[in-house]
Amino acid sequence: MNNTSANPNEYSAREKKTSRYAAYWSLAWGVSIPLGCAGVMFLPASKLFLGIFALFIHVGIGLGAIRAHIRLLETLDEMQRKIQLEAMAMALGALWVAFGSLLILHSAELIHIDSWEVALLAVLAGLGMAIGNIIGVLRHR
């Protein structure tokens, strides 16, 4: 992608800005899950209404986070983009394997899946991303 700029430091400033936005949106998305669940469980209102409201907020923030990450990828230079894409592949792969494993174990009645196991999948995705980034940076050092 062609990121032309007149200012020599504009790439660095642009990368920092889009990285910050991606981080903020990711944090907001992460927080929306426990807040939504807690709201439904503890607020004195209709669970149906609260659940749908929390769902809309969560999906809206999630879409914002997706857009922020796409913008981040567009901003990064080719090596940084390669590292991020590989980290995303690692996170996605880890999610697939973990989710498939949980389903198999649940079917075999070795475990019982509830909301906590599902929530841990989100944590696993984050960890996969972080580990993928570290591996990518170390490999190109």
């Binding site: 062609n2 700029s5 430091n9 660095s12 230079d77 080719e78 940084q80 390669k82 940076v137 050092r141």
Partner: protein, 65 residues
């Protein structure tokens, strides 16, 4: 892929950060290219060649297999 980026940069007294700013990439990318840990794309290689006023082949040499 071998390259003469470090030599060409040193001839002009540029830091990695200077070269990164001129090529609109991160300093880490310049470092990785100089060490042979990352091969630049064709557009980036052309950009580097234009910056130094050289042909691509004068900067980057493909490793013989």
């Amino acid at each position: 892929m071998k390259n003469r980026l470090k030599v060409l940069r040193a001839e002009r007294n540029w830091t990695q950060a200077d070269l990164a700013a001129k090529l609109e990439v991160s300093r880490q990318t310049i470092n990785a290219i100089e060490k042979g840990k990352f091969d630049p794309s064709l557009p980036l290689a052309f950009k580097a060649a234009k910056l130094f006023g050289l042909f691509i082949e004068d900067i980057f040499q493909h490793d013989a297999e």
